[in-house]
Structure formats: structure tokens, C-alpha cells
Point group: C2
Chain length 581, copies 2
């Protein structure tokens, strides 16, 4: 009982605000005295479980209400956690000096502590299960949270950070950003983290040997090239997807190149090519948009359930939202000398990335030049993603952002912008990302007859409850949450939810970013409380469908949209839950 | 046998080119000699039935092949008609002077002939059946075609002009525009036509007493206000819909106003209102677009078949296409002093028509100002429709054209353009043209919760074969034709047709206007040859569905889109035919 634990929590958002006196503990000193703060600044508010729109629907408030032991090494910390979980109203006096101590502890969280062992990404990554121990990083700190996870007020979502960093989760659940939580975290400190940025080159013949680290919460669909999606239930927990959890769709190895001398080439026929470093680009007027990106193959696995398709088996997490900051492509093209006459003459603008296929060909795409030049389309040359330099997996240092289009057109590691009378010659513009009639089989694909997919149609999916989960019949209602999005700046007008196969539809409550009319580049998140049909027991199908501002709707089934490449699966989304007594 | 009949026809397009020697016949002199021309200029080409993309699928080529009598008054004319119908190759010599005579006859067609009786619109309108006699007008001529209609090589479509003018049909079937046809027509001349433009005011208390004449081919859904659609099978016979056959959707009486002193008011807050006559407007740069207009209620009657809805019972002809000529609203707003700051401040531009409700309120609408100002959206203040002054029913002298939006936003008889921070206060912006969830009934409509419909979603319909028609099993294939359109400039990417309920889909051949990328304001017409399922007899359902350039698709059924106002019925379109032996 060497330390005093300050406990302050709003259980509603699944967070425990726990602090301790010992600001810089060693791994072996994790026994604390428990005090529940009642002072204004360090108080504990037990308000019971609330349904916050973005609260994560974990086990908060439903565990044991008796304080007890929290593992062997954490001592009284578990008392605090259990108290939080149980939502018991306790109070004790804490003086202001304790608050100050707590603050100091919080400020030290994640900083290098001399004398602690040093671990790198690989060391941490291995510790992702109860068997290996569950480690996490926070800035420069490495933490062993093995004994805490079972008591995490936010439920088992904490496990998704096992072997990886806490930061993206704390970005999702901002309530963690408190002195109490940071101070509690620091009690679990076991070492310092040395971020070596890229995995060491182990095999010079492996073009994927220098890939960046990825967060273990991502569900990997393909390692080489790397393709991974966040668990869909995380997507709805914040409007912006943290960079580390943003789905990754790479077609080729992440390129290794000379960053210092990087220049973007901008070519307009008949004009001198201009070459711009990122710093030079930053002299143009800066714009920030909130934009959702979705892979054309999102929900492909469900299309395959209907009839097998070819492609990466994405669930429904190949969609994410970020704030993109950069300059308007339009401004740069005008600077490069593009005239109205050029616009009439050249229909396309092509993009080339630095990522290369084995033959030296670049990943590439093209869009109509009129889209690039339309000031209402907000096509950006972006260098920031959620306020940070765009990470390696998302196109560092430059990515062209085509808001409202499929992700494949927003070329990462952008190195060339070429105005042309032709579409990009890239494989991914010419021979992929094209959709065919439901009766065309793989051997029959004539890519020349199908135009490249650009804007995405209207889409929605149910992220909560999870497929196969149980719903208590006594609740009488089931809370359903998800996302909806439409391409081309068409916002979502309505989301309807049905639990009787589409006979009766319930209107969901919407949350969007309040974007400009017809420039709604970001998704809409939604939530609905649906009455469980009277006397219903057992299997219950929950359907959702969205309607966009142009009144386009999702099709009922896959009958009319199935295509052998499994693109644009926008059929009504269904999850199946079990109503239990 | 006082006259020589020159016969020249391409049966494929259902036209007979018949001329006669007597250039200005009286009603009683309709007996001709028959000669089939073989000279280059006045030749007859019997090429048998062809499947022209726009050929009308009438009875051409399937009637009697024996020359015989064509009614009592037409004499040998019927021989020519029957010969054309039968597709028999005949030839005879005609000298060039006869060609010249024919030309002269053709030039006189439709001109006033002194001494003939004069008929007005009401006189002609009454003659629309075999019982009353079938009269038609062509320019200033009135013709009695009663005995000809049964022998019309183009089938019974000629009956649609009964009691009305031929011009819109000859605009559809341009092959009629030949000297032979005109000369033949003139043989049926019975009088001169006096177009009194508007129906005479019979009842000063009837606000509809001064409505313009309408073509009898239109199917009338409501007389006051006038709402009518062309038979859908006519829509696909030409890419452009003739003005007289363009669907009419009036919400109020066609206004009567002082045309000489007409001025358009353009109001930008804080700026001096500018007032422009049509002649002053014409000083701005002129633009022409080919644009399809569709009523939000098109296909409502089919939605009502699923479950009753409220509104005018449109079939699937409440859609038409015209060339609209005018000036860019953007240019006029800039001239009126609109700045970038105004654009950031005012979200909408409102439109007011001259048509008034009983309380003196105008018909009105509004669109986002960003749509009006976006140079890629082509919003026009139009004064011409298919090269003519906009007709009274379509908004003479000015109509704002919002390409890609529902027709209701393109205000007719446009008198005011008002930049505002609010939507139009008009009933039709606030309390109509809004869509609700399928489970909302009429008494539950909360108009404040639904935004006004603007862009139309992806749509398609089968115009040929007609519902209930028969298909010969020996043909092995059924020719299916229709239209497809999507709002917002999104062109049609593909149309699929199925005769097995959507298990197998056939790709249709498309015809569009070759418009600019993402500025596809006009529809796509399509045609497909679908094999009749083996051994199929009896009822056969034919379905179509379109996919637009944003990969939006039509929903399978009405289950998810039904709404009590019957708007935006875009479910797969179905016609039922009978396969007969």
C-alpha cells in the first residue's frame, strides 16, 4: 500500500481515470492505496452507463461491483478499476498536492525513463496474447497490460492494441486523454520503446523487406503487398479514423526513395514541366477537407458469399475517414500553364506513384481533367493526413486526393501529374477497377468495353452489433450503428434500418461533418434504436440501406450488381444477431 | 387515272414516299396512275424491312403484298401504299419533268390554298376517330387521312396524330421529310388551318380558359392544370423529343402576361436588382445543351401498383429530351454583382415563375447557389427549345434549366432569380417534391425533416415492346428498346436486360449524345436482342436496369424505395409480353 490511487471516471464512455502517487514506478512497484477523489479537479463522477453516440458498447457497468484483486502485480489498482466498472459512488478526500503529483505523473507518461530496458517494434509485436503477455506502447513507453485487460472498463477492445500502440485507440476514445489515465498507464511501465520506423532489411531480394510497421489491430488481407482493414466496430467510434487504423490498400511494395531530393513533376503538353518539392508546394494556398476513402472492393467477402468473386477478401472495413491537407491540384495545373483551350483538348489528368512493379512500371491512375479543374471538386495534392505528415503506408510525402472517388484513384507516393488526351496506361486504370454485367464470367472480361470506376455509389453498413452477437430480449430494443457514404460529394440523406426483411423501415439518426452542399466528401455515421419484434427469439437479421442526396439507393440484393471482380458491393447490408432470454 | 403516282420508299423506316402529278388537288381528285420511279433523284428503293435503331416497330413489311384498293376516295394511292408495304420491287420510267412537278407539289404542301374551307384547332381536334373522320394538320393545311391510316406503312402510330398536327411525328420520323410524302399528303387536302394559338376565353372565371393547344397524342393525366405525357413508345423513336410531344407538367394555369414588357428580375442581396428583357439576355454568351427532363413522379402509376401512393398517375413517359438554348445563369449572376464572398454567404438561388396560385403566390423553386455558379453544371436561362422559342406550355419566354435535376426545379415562365440564404418559400420547394421512408404514411409527413429533391437518381424503362403485346416464338429473339438516364450529369454506363427474373442479364447497345464527361445531361437510348428462353410459351416478364457512371444502380424492387408521394420510382422496370406460336 505504498501508493495512493486516485480514481475518477465517467463510466459512460468506458474510461477509468486512475492515478497514483508514485509517478515513475518500476515494474515491481504496483501496489497502491485507493482514494476516490472528490475535489473538483480530481473528482470521480460515477454516472452509470450512458449511451453516448460514440461510446463503445463494451462491458462497462456490467462487471462485478465488488472491489477485489486486480491480478497479482497490480495490487489495489484493480480495486479502482473494479470500482469504476461497478459504478459505485465512493468518495474520499484528496488534497490538491495529490492532484499535482498525478499531473506530474501524467506528463511523464510515454517519456524515456533512464535505466529501463529498451524494446523495439518486433519485441512489442510478439506480446499480443495472454500467453505471451500483452504489451502496448505509448510514445516512448512500453507497458505490460496483461493483468489489466480483463478489467478494462471499455471492454475487450483494448485487446486490439495488444502488441501495438495505444495512440490510435486514445484518438478514438478521447476520454483516455486525462491525467488519471496517463498516470495509471505509467504504473504498468516495463521499458522504453525504440521506434526503428521501418522493419530492418532482412532480405535484399525481397521488395517488401522495407515496409513500415503496421498496427496489430488491423485485419490483414494480404501481407505482400500489404492490405488490411480496421475492425468495422472501431470505425464508428470516432468520426475521423486515426492514421494507424486507416485501412491500407497497397498494390505494390511501399517505395524506398531519396526523400531529401523528392520533387513532384507536373506536365502539361506544350508547356515546360514544373518540378516542385513539398516545401515549394506548401507555398500554394492550403486547403483541408474531411474526406472518406473507400476501396472499390469493400464488402467483397459478402459478395463472394453470394457467388465467388476474385480479389482481396475485404470485409466491410475497407473505408476510413481523414482530414487531408494540401493544395488544390487545380491551382498547380494553372501555375503549370494549363489554359481553357488545353482543357478542351485534353480530357484527362494522369497520376503516377513511386511504387513500382517488377518490370519498373509505376502504379498509376487518371481522372477527367474537368474533375481536377472544377473548383467545386476539391482535388488535392495532400501532404498531411489528420494533421500529421502522411504516413508511409498512405503515400508519404504526397498523395493526390480525389474526394468522392474510389480509393484506387488517389495515387500514393505521387511523383507525376500528367495532363493528357488519354487515360493512364497503368494496369490499374486499364485492366482492373472495372465492373461488368452480372452474367460475365472471369474468362470473358473485355476490359476495353468497360470504363474505369471513378465515383463510388451509395453505400452503408452496420458496424454494431457484430455479426453473431447476442441481444437480450429484455432490452426490447437493439441499438444499431454504422456508416453510410456516397461518392461525388453526394451526402447521405437518410439511413433506414429493418429487422423484418424490409417490410418496415426505421429512420436512423445521422451524424455528419456538416460539409458544404454537394461537397460532402466525408461519410455519415448513424445510429438507430430498433424495437425487437414482439415475442421474437433466436436469429434476427438486421438490414440497413442508405439514400444519398441524389436519391440513389442501395439495391435490395446482389442479383443485379454481382460482378466477377467483386467491386461496389452496395446491396443492403445485413448482420445476423441472436435474441436471447 | 388523272395523276401519276411516284413511289419511293425505304420500308425499313416505315415511310412511303408517294408523289402525284396534280400538285394542288381538290378533295375530290384523288385518283392517280402508279409509276415506281427509277431515276436517281426520284427513285424507289425497296430494301425490305431493316432494323434501324430508331425505326418504329410497326407493321411495315407485314401487310398484304398484293396491290389493291386503298379506300374509296384515294383510288390508286392505295396501290402505291400496298406496294410499299409489301416491299415488292417494281420499276418504271419517270422523266425529270415529273420529278420537278412533284417537287413543286411538295413545296406547296401546308400552304394556304385560296378557296378551301378554313378550320381552326377545335374543328380539327374533333376529328380523331374513324367515326368522326381522322383529320390532321400540317402547317396551314388540313388533311383528311381517314382512308389512309389502315395502310400507313409505319403502322398505327399515325393514329396518334389524329385531330392534331403531323409535324412532331415527322420530326420523330425524319424520312417523311421528302417531296414524295409531302406531295402525297397534299392529295388528302381538305382545307386551310387557322391556328388561333390559345383556346378562346370562354369563361372569365376559369383561370384555365386561356391555355395553349396541346397535341392529341399526349396522354392527359390532368386537364387543369395540364399534365400529360407522350406514349412511351414514341420516346425512343428519336433522340430529341419534338416540342409538341414533350411531356407537360404544369402546377398552375399557364400565365397570361404582357409579353412586350416582359423583364427578368435578378436580385443579389446588397446589389441593385437588374432587369433584363429576353433581347437583353441574348447579348450574353449563348450556350446550347441537350438535356433530358424528368418529372420526379415518372413511373408513379407502377409504384401505386405495389402500394397506393398520392399524386398524378404518370406512366413512364414523364421524361423527354430537348436542346435548350440560352445563357449561363452564372454569367448573369456575376453581371448582377455576385462575388465570391456572396457565394460563401448565400447558399441558394431561388426562382419564381409568372404562374400564380389562387392566392397570388408564384410557382417557385431553389437550388444550391454552388450549382448555379459551378461552370461545369451548365445551369441555363433558356429561351429556345429545339431551336424554337420555348412554347407556352414549357415556359415561354424564359425557363431556367437545371440539367440533371428533377423537372420541378426548372421553373417555367421565369420572372425572378433571387440569391438568398434560404430555400424558396414556395409550396413546391417546402411541402412537395420531398421523399420519405417507406414506412411513413400520408398523415405522418413532416416536411421539415426531408430536404427537397434535386438531382434525379439512375433510371431506365422499357418502351418497346409494349405491355401486353405478343411476341412470335418463331422469332427466337425479342427486340427490347428503352431509355435510361441519371441526374447530376452522370451518364449511363450500362443497361442490362433479363427475361428470367434477373438470373441472366444481357447487355444492351447504347446510344447517347456523346456529351462531355460528367456533364451528360441527356438520356441514353438503348436496344437489345434477347433470346426467348427455349420452349417458353405464354407470359414473359422482361426487366431492365441501368447503371450510371458513378455505379449507382436501380433497386431490385419497390420494397426499399416506396414512398407515399410516389417519387423517384426507379425499381427495375418490367413489361409483360406473351410469347405466342
Amino acid at each position: 500500500m505504498s501508493q495512493l490511487l486516485l480514481l475518477g471516471s465517467r463510466v459512460a464512455v468506458g474510461c477509468c481515470r486512475l492515478t497514483r502517487r508514485n509517478l515513475l514506478p518500476t515494474r515491481d512497484s504496483k501496489r497502491f492505496e485507493l482514494v476516490v477523489a472528490t475535489s473538483t479537479k480530481c473528482n470521480a463522477n460515477f454516472e452509470g452507463k450512458q449511451r453516448g453516440f460514440h461510446g463503445h458498447g463494451g462491458a462497462a457497468g456490467e462487471d462485478s461491483s465488488d472491489p477485489g484483486k486486480w491480478g497479482t502485480s497490480s495490487g489495489l489498482l484493480m480495486v479502482g478499476a473494479a470500482a469504476v466498472i461497478g459504478g459505485i459512488g465512493l468518495s474520499a478526500l484528496v488534497n490538491s498536492s495529490k492532484c499535482a503529483e498525478k499531473k506530474q505523473a501524467a506528463q511523464s507518461a510515454g517519456k524515456v525513463i533512464k535505466g529501463l530496458p529498451e524494446y523495439n517494434h518486433d519485441d512489442v509485436e510478439k506480446h499480443n496474447s495472454p500467453e505471451t503477455g500483452i504489451w502496448m506502447t505509448y510514445k516512448n513507453g512500453v507497458y505490460d497490460v496483461t493483468s489489466f485487460v480483463a478489467h478494462h472498463p471499455g471492454g475487450d477492445k483494448i485487446m486490439l492494441a495488444g502488441g501495438g500502440s495505444l495512440e490510435p485507440f486514445w484518438a478514438l476514445y478521447a476520454v483516455h486523454q486525462s491525467d488519471e489515465t496517463l498516470a495509471l498507464l505509467e504504473t504498468l511501465r516495463i521499458g522504453n520503446y525504440k521506434d526503428d520506423e521501418r522493419i530492418q532489411k532482412k532480405d535484399v531480394n525481397d521488395p517488401f523487406a522495407s515496409e513500415p510497421h503496421r498496427h496489430p489491430a488491423l485485419t490483414v488481407n494480404s501481407k505482400k503487398p500489404f492490405n488490411a482493414e480496421p475492425p468495422p466496430e472501431l470505425l464508428i467510434d470516432s468520426f475521423i479514423t486515426p492514421n494507424e487504423l486507416f485501412f491500407v490498400r497497397n498494390h505494390l511494395p511501399v517505395p524506398v526513395f531519396d526523400k531529401k531530393n523528392f520533387k513532384l513533376n507536373v506536365e502539361v503538353p506544350g508547356k515546360k514541366t514544373i518540378k516542385l518539392s513539398v516545401d515549394e508546394l506548401k507555398k500554394y494556398k492550403e486547403h483541408t477537407i474531411t474526406g472518406t476513402m473507400q476501396c472499390a472492393g469493400n464488402r467483397r467477402s459478402q459478395m463472394s458469399n453470394y457467388k465467388t468473386v476474385k480479389g482481396l477478401s475485404w470485409k466491410f472495413g475497407a473505408i476510413s475517414t481523414a482530414e487531408w491537407t494540401g493544395v488544390m491540384l487545380r491551382d498547380v495545373l494553372l501555375k503549370a500553364g494549363l489554359t481553357e483551350e488545353d482543357e478542351a483538348k485534353f480530357a484527362y489528368v494522369q497520376f503516377e506513384g513511386l511504387d513500382k512493379d517488377p518490370n519498373g512500371g509505376s502504379y498509376g491512375s487518371s481522372i477527367p481533367l474537368s474533375v481536377a479543374m472544377n473548383p467545386y471538386r476539391d482535388v488535392l495534392l495532400a501532404y498531411k493526413m489528420n494533421g500529421q505528415d502522411i504516413p508511409a503506408d498512405h503515400g508519404h510525402p504526397l498523395r493526390v486526393i480525389i474526394p468522392g472517388n474510389i480509393g484506387a484513384r488517389s495515387v500514393k507516393w505521387l511523383s507525376k501529374v500528367i495532363v493528357s488526351d488519354k487515360e493512364s496506361p497503368s494496369h490499374w486504370q486499364q485492366k482492373d477497377y472495372k465492373s461488368f454485367n452480372p452474367s460475365v464470367e472471369f474468362g470473358q472480361l473485355n476490359y476495353d468495353t468497360a470504363p474505369p470506376v471513378q465515383e463510388y455509389p451509395v453505400q452503408s453498413a452496420i458496424c454494431y452489433p457484430k455479426e453473431g452477437s447476442s441481444v437480450d430480449v429484455d432490452e426490447e430494443k437493439v441499438t444499431v450503428k454504422g456508416y453510410a457514404w456516397s461518392g461525388g460529394g453526394r451526402g447521405i440523406l437518410r439511413v433506414d434500418v429493418s429487422v423484418d426483411g424490409g417490410q418496415k423501415w426505421h429512420v436512423a439518426e445521422l451524424k455528419d461533418a456538416g460539409q458544404k452542399i454537394q461537397r460532402v466528401w466525408a461519410w455519415t455515421q448513424w445510429e438507430a434504436e430498433i424495437p425487437i419484434p414482439k415475442d421474437h427469439k433466436g436469429k434476427l437479421d438486421i438490414y440497413c440501406k442508405a439514400i444519398d442526396s441524389s436519391h440513389n439507393v442501395q439495391p435490395d440484393t446482389m442479383k443485379g450488381i454481382w460482378n466477377v471482380r467483386g467491386l461496389m458491393n452496395t446491396a443492403w447490408h445485413r448482420v445476423n444477431v441472436k435474441v436471447v432470454e
